[in-house]
């Protein structure tokens, strides 16, 4: 038997989590170093997976399959397709930056303070989330997926509720209250989604008799597994609801601004750049493959909700006073694009959506982490508390601007490629929706540039006049992300090459062909 590479990519951070948590309380720095080390080795392993993956090969590769709960037909089955492997790589890539950016976020507030914050726990929880997210991207057994999909809520809950921003306009007491509200809201929304999905998972088992994604999809394609139209639709809705909460899709999005606002910046990145991607990924993998007819049935409604998300999220971002909530609403807008691309059911739309997940992860990480550096300097999340920062900290302002330009999808940076693919893929089938979604690019410019103008330009506010520029550790976090944004903007081919075959498969699962160009069709 060959080396279980996929299992290793998840077991490694899991071991790391345990090891980090076990480091004695006094040796805080050793715990951080250990966590970083584990995340880096996981990244190395993910790169091996990426190299070993053959885009032209079988649909699921590096597969592992073991019987687990034989009575219920639950198997431990892992495998990655082009979409999964790209997201595993994204996750493994971002975690070291999250850890490094959050280096001091969980330090004790002050020596001798009673409110000791468990540094070790913070980093252990991040690694635990990484393990579960990676397994969600790799699981090809529906029940196995469900377990990790739900289990990641627990470490996330503690990360949001236990480690907030040190700065709060209404003092530490209020911060603590708001934090636990945000954490519970996050948990309840996702838990409700998860419970509804659980019902659907059980329902699927009742109909199909097993949990294997490959087997069920095959049986559906062969016609050996027949599903009544109404059954398929109910099951689809059960799955989709859970993913739409996680993604999040309007109007199920309200937990995200709370969670991202209250959590520390690195944890906010973890939520939006990593954890939420499981939702959109699962739409592609489970909803479309298992319930192709129901997916097509629900498409019109989903497209409308997605386009509402795009415009609504962007407008709300314009209206925010809080930097982190602004980024959260921008993410809601971006998730609208991803979902739009998935359900446009065209090659460009779905390849674009997958690319979008990767690029959004990198660009949001860049913007949010720099925002975090900024906030940690001034101790406020309010936009109005800043002004003229570029004069005192030009490198910080410059990197913040690049993160912002990526967020508004400036051509030449990675997000442009994916956003344009989503738009053109949507437009090809639904011109009106494509055009409304295009308004998003104007609004994105508005909220990004207003944010930059208010915080970075103008006269220097006295409170920021002594602000130091980016430190070495912070530069190490930001520079690679910016390099990646430029590289993938100029040369996205390595990613599209991996993703394209998987998208082709998915489209054939739902029996959809790309519309032909009019001139060609007329001939």
């Amino acid at each position: 038997m060959s080396f279980p590479l996929l299992t290793a990519t998840a077991v490694l951070p899991a071991i790391g989590a345990v090891a980090t948590a076990a480091v004695p309380a006094a040796r805080r720095n050793a715990a951080k170093a250990l966590a970083l080390l584990f995340s880096l080795v996981t990244l190395a392993l993910a790169i091996v997976v990426l190299v070993r993956f053959d885009p032209g090969g079988a649909r699921y590769q590096l597969t592992e399959s073991h019987s687990w709960i034989a009575e219920f037909g639950v198997r431990y089955e892992l495998g990655v397709d082009g979409i999964g492997v790209a997201l595993v790589a994204l996750t493994a890539l971002l975690i070291p930056f999250v850890i490094l950016a959050g280096w001091h976020d969980a330090d004790p507030l002050e020596t001798g303070s009673k409110r000791w914050r468990p540094t070790q726990g913070f980093f252990a929880l991040i690694l635990a989330v990484e393990a579960m997210v990676i397994l969600s991207f790799e699981a090809t057994d529906v029940f196995l997926f469900y377990i990790f999909f739900e289990a990641m809520l627990i470490p996330m809950y503690f990360l949001i509720g236990g480690f907030g921003d040190r700065a709060h306009e209404h003092g530490e007491e209020a911060a603590s209250t708001q934090r636990s509200y945000a954490a519970v809201k996050f948990l309840l929304y996702n838990l409700v989604g998860g419970l509804i999905m659980l019902a659907a998972v059980i329902g699927l088992y009742v109909v199909a008799g097993n949990f294997s994604l490959a087997e069920i999809a095959q049986a559906r394609a062969d016609g050996t597994l027949h599903m009544a139209t109404s059954t398929e639709r109910w099951l689809f809705l059960g799955f989709f609801f859970a993913f739409a909460v996680k993604a999040p899709l309007w109007p199920l999005h309200t937990w995200l601004p709370n969670a991202m606002g209250e959590a520390t910046a690195p944890v906010a990145v973890l939520i939006t750049a990593v954890v939420d991607k499981v939702g959109t990924f699962a739409m592609l993998r489970f909803c479309l493959q298992l319930f192709p007819e129901a997916s097509k049935w629900a498409t019109p409604v989903i497209l409308v909700l997605a386009v509402i998300s795009i415009v609504y999220g962007a407008l709300l971002a314009v209206g925010q006073r809080d930097i982190k909530r602004l980024v959260a609403y921008a993410s809601i807008s971006h998730f609208g694009f991803i979902i739009l691309g998935i359900f446009a059911m065209t090659s460009q739309g779905q390849s674009g959506a997958t690319l979008y997940m990767v690029n959004h992860g990198i660009s949001t990480a860049a913007l949010m982490l720099v925002a975090g550096f900024l906030i940690s300097r001034r101790g406020s999340r309010l936009i109005a508390d800043y002004g003229g920062v570029q004069k005192v900290a030009p490198v910080l302002a410059g990197t913040f601007l690049i993160g912002g330009l990526a967020t508004l999808s400036l051509p030449g940076l990675a997000p442009f490629v994916s956003e344009f693919l989503v738009l053109v893929g949507t437009f090809a089938r639904y011109p009106a929706i494509g055009i409304i979604a295009t308004f998003g690019i104007v609004l994105a410019a508005l909220y990004t540039l207003v944010l930059y103008q208010r915080t970075m330009t103008g006269p220097v506010k006295p409170e920021v006049s002594a602000m130091p520029d980016l430190r070495a550790r912070e530069l190490v976090v930001v520079t690679p992300l910016i390099v990646l944004l430029i590289f993938l903007g100029v040369y996205p081919k390595p990613v599209t090459d991996i993703v394209n075959p998987a998208v082709k498969q998915t489209l054939s699962d739902v029996h959809k062909k790309d519309p032909k160009p009019e001139v060609e069709a007329a001939k």
Binding site: E71, I154, Y157, S180, Y181, V184, L187, L188, V192, L198, Y205, V206, W250, P251, T254, Y312, L315, L316, G319, Q320, S347, Q348, S351, K391, L405, L410, P411, G412, F416, F420, L421, L423, V424, F427, A428, I435, T438, F439, V442, A445, L446, L449, Q453, M456, T457, G458, P459, V460, V490, Y491, P492, K493, T496, N500, K504, D514, P517, E518, V519, E520
Partner: protein
């Protein structure tokens, strides 16, 4: 030879990267690095130009394919370049004028502590602008299109500590984004209609007819109108013109290069490049001519009322680009002349802006022409070069503008019918107004009394950002002086272009023969003879100059602007465009977002929470969870697991 094309772009891109990432070490030499790399690009352009001239007229298209950019099933975007007569013309204009303005900036920005960054941005602009005109497909063109927008944003807001500069930069980017939406939708339409957006198959190459003509007129009209929207944004045409006046917040060399000579003409390039699409969409072409005609009058009227020398010139730019857009909308009758005017305008308008910068440099950065006067004695080189630019723009016989603008007015009449008369009439009227406002600028600045004597030029509430101010102190009486050689030499070179370019292009129809293989050309059917049009233009010129002289030459100019007529007051406020935008878009938008924030907080959040609560009594549970979270969660998990086990057991029983 075609392998040199990428190097055209690579040189300034390298400069931008080195200057922006290089850090303080390069502070001392940054301006020369930037100027050198810009010049390298110009020299490469000359080499390629020589190569094209050595080929036969039909064989003057070079292509270079670099790599596959976005390969997705059914969708192919490449990084590839196409150099033909049209793009070659732009390359020489961009790198030539660009290098001169780099040189000028060495002097102009001498005392700015962030000079290295300024040159980095200028190089970035050159790279993006070259990408725009060299791209061989619309999506890559889009990269250059937004790239110049970014450079423009960075340079307008270069003095970011001035809130007005930061606001102007943001406004320029946003208004341009509205235009970019048009380009975006145009590309999507091309993709769904033709399956491609590459110039080769779409517009034709090497004598081959493109497939652009295969689509229905309706589709072509839609694409053309979307391209026009894009052009309106970039080229400050009505209704997306509002950003250009504010863009004068940027340093003056930027106004000369980006907001006069090159970037703002990109819209004209886009329309002329897409000739194959516009030719199949006559309705869209009519809209193009209307936009051009309206803008040429709009800009000219605004130019008459401004006392800020740069804003007067900005109105003029808008108006002159209106001429070009009008010509481009005329189809094959006008394409060549649109580009010809674009090139001559590049010379004289860049020269005028550099002259304005030179005046400001000597006047403690005063921009109010009412506080100028009599400067010809103090700045002879600036006066002569500016004066030649002035004569060129008003179309003084024999100078550049005379040839290029006349051709456009002739072409407008040649459109024929009532449309021809209306468009030609507008163009003639525009010529008269141009003569008026430019004479006004000339008289207020260089003639008359020396109104700057015995008064500080800047009010303390508006501290200047232009570097000269810091150098000379702000409240002193200005001591006008000629600018250093590094600034006057570019002005002299541009003045040469302003004088001779038009004649050179027109003798033997050189420019026409050069460009015709790309754009096509037809003569049209003018109801008026060439002599009649020229005569009418001359009459307009004399009337415009005469009125301005009567108002500003024979009477003293008041230092404080008189109240003025209703029209004057409206024109000072850019014909109320900003007031309109403010009331409708800004206020409306603020209300919308503010109410949405409220709706999201109370309604959406409330309804979703409320639904959940009513379904599962969740709100009560929420309270309990907040108290004893861990236990309740364990119970929930246990409950879930129990349901699961029960269900599966049930299954087995069945």
């Amino acid at each position: 030879m075609e392998n040199l094309i990428a190097l055209l772009i690579a040189a300034p891109l390298l400069g931008a990267a080195v200057l922006l990432v290089g850090g303080r070490r390069l502070d001392a030499v940054g301006q020369w690095v930037g100027t050198l790399l810009s010049t390298v690009s110009f020299v490469l352009g000359l080499v390629l130009f020589g190569d094209l001239l050595g080929r036969s007229a039909e064989d003057r298209t070079l292509t270079q394919h670099l790599f596959s950019w976005i390969p997705v099933e059914g969708f192919q975007a490449d990084v590839g370049f196409r150099l033909d007569q049209l793009s070659m013309t732009f390359v020489l204009l961009i790198t030539g004028v660009g290098s001169l303005i780099h040189l000028y900036s060495v002097g102009y920005m001498e005392h700015d502590e962030r000079r290295r960054r300024f040159f980095g941005y200028l190089n970035l602009f050159l790279a993006a602008m070259l990408l725009l005109v060299l791209a061989d497909n619309y999506l890559l063109l889009y990269v250059g299109w937004e790239g110049v927008g970014l450079a423009s944003y960075l340079l307008i807001g270069f003095w970011q500590h001035k809130p007005s500069a930061a606001t102007a930069a943001k406004k320029a980017f946003l208004v341009n984004r509205v235009g970019d939406m048009g380009l975006s939708i145009a590309i999507m339409l091309m993709f769904t209609t033709f399956g491609t957006f590459a110039f080769g198959p779409l517009l034709g190459a090497e004598g081959q007819q493109g497939i652009a003509g295969d689509a229905s007129e309706g589709k072509l009209t839609a694409i053309a109108l979307m391209l026009l929207l894009a052009a309106c944004g970039k080229s400050a045409q009505v209704p997306l013109q509002s950003w250009l006046g504010d863009a004068m917040e940027g340093p003056t060399p930027v106004s000369a290069l980006i907001h006069a000579a090159t970037m703002v003409t990109a819209g004209v390039y886009l329309i002329v490049r897409s000739a194959a699409i516009f030719n199949g969409a006559p309705d869209a072409q009519l809209v193009v001519t209307v936009v051009g005609a309206v803008t040429l009058l709009f800009g000219a009227i605004v130019g008459c009322a401004k006392d800020d020398i740069k804003k007067a010139l900005a109105g003029s730019t808008m108006s002159q680009i209106g001429y070009m857009v009008l010509a481009a909308g005329l189809g094959p009758i006008g394409y060549v002349f649109a580009i010809m005017h674009l090139v001559t305008h590049g010379f004289f308008k860049a020269g005028l802006f550099l002259g304005a910068g030179s005046v400001m440099h000597g006047m403690n950065d005063e921009v109010d022409m009412r506080k100028y006067g009599g400067l010809r004695k103090y700045m002879p080189v600036t006066f002569v070069t500016f004066g030649l630019g002035y004569l060129a723009i008003i179309g003084f016989p024999g100078l550049s503008g005379f040839f290029s603008k006349d051709k456009i007015i002739e072409a407008a009449f040649a459109k024929g019918g009532a449309e021809g008369w209306i468009l030609g009439g507008c163009a003639l009227l525009g010529a008269a107004i141009t003569a008026y406002y430019m004479t006004r600028v000339m008289l207020m600045t260089f003639f008359g009394e020396e109104r700057w004597k015995n008064q500080p030029t800047r009010s303390p509430e508006a501290p200047s950002a232009e570097p000269a101010a810091a150098h000379h102190g702000e409240h002193a009486e200005p001591h006008p002086h000629e600018s250093p050689k590094v600034m006057t030499i570019p002005m002299i070179v541009l003045a040469f272009g302003s004088v001779f370019a038009g004649g050179f292009f027109s003798i033997g129809d050189r420019f026409l023969h050069w460009l015709e293989p790309v754009t096509g050309h037809s003569e049209g059917d003018s109801p008026l003879s060439v002599a009649a049009v020229t005569g009418a233009t001359m009459v307009c010129l004399v009337i415009g100059v005469g009125i301005a002289y009567a108002q500003y030459g024979r009477r003293p100019v008041p230092v404080v602007a008189p109240r003025g007529s209703l029209l004057t007051r409206a024109a000072r406020r850019d014909l109320l465009q900003d007031d309109f935008n403010h009331v409708v878009l800004v206020r409306g938008g603020e209300h919308l977002t503010r109410s949405l924030v409220y709706v999201d907080h109370t309604l959406v959040d409330g309804v979703v929470n409320g639904t959940a609560a009513s379904v599962g009594g969740l709100s009560g549970r929420l309270r309990r969870l907040q108290n004893g979270f861990a236990r309740s969660y364990a119970v929930s998990m246990f409950g879930g697991a129990a349901v699961l086990v029960a269900a599966t057991l049930l299954m087995r029983a069945v």
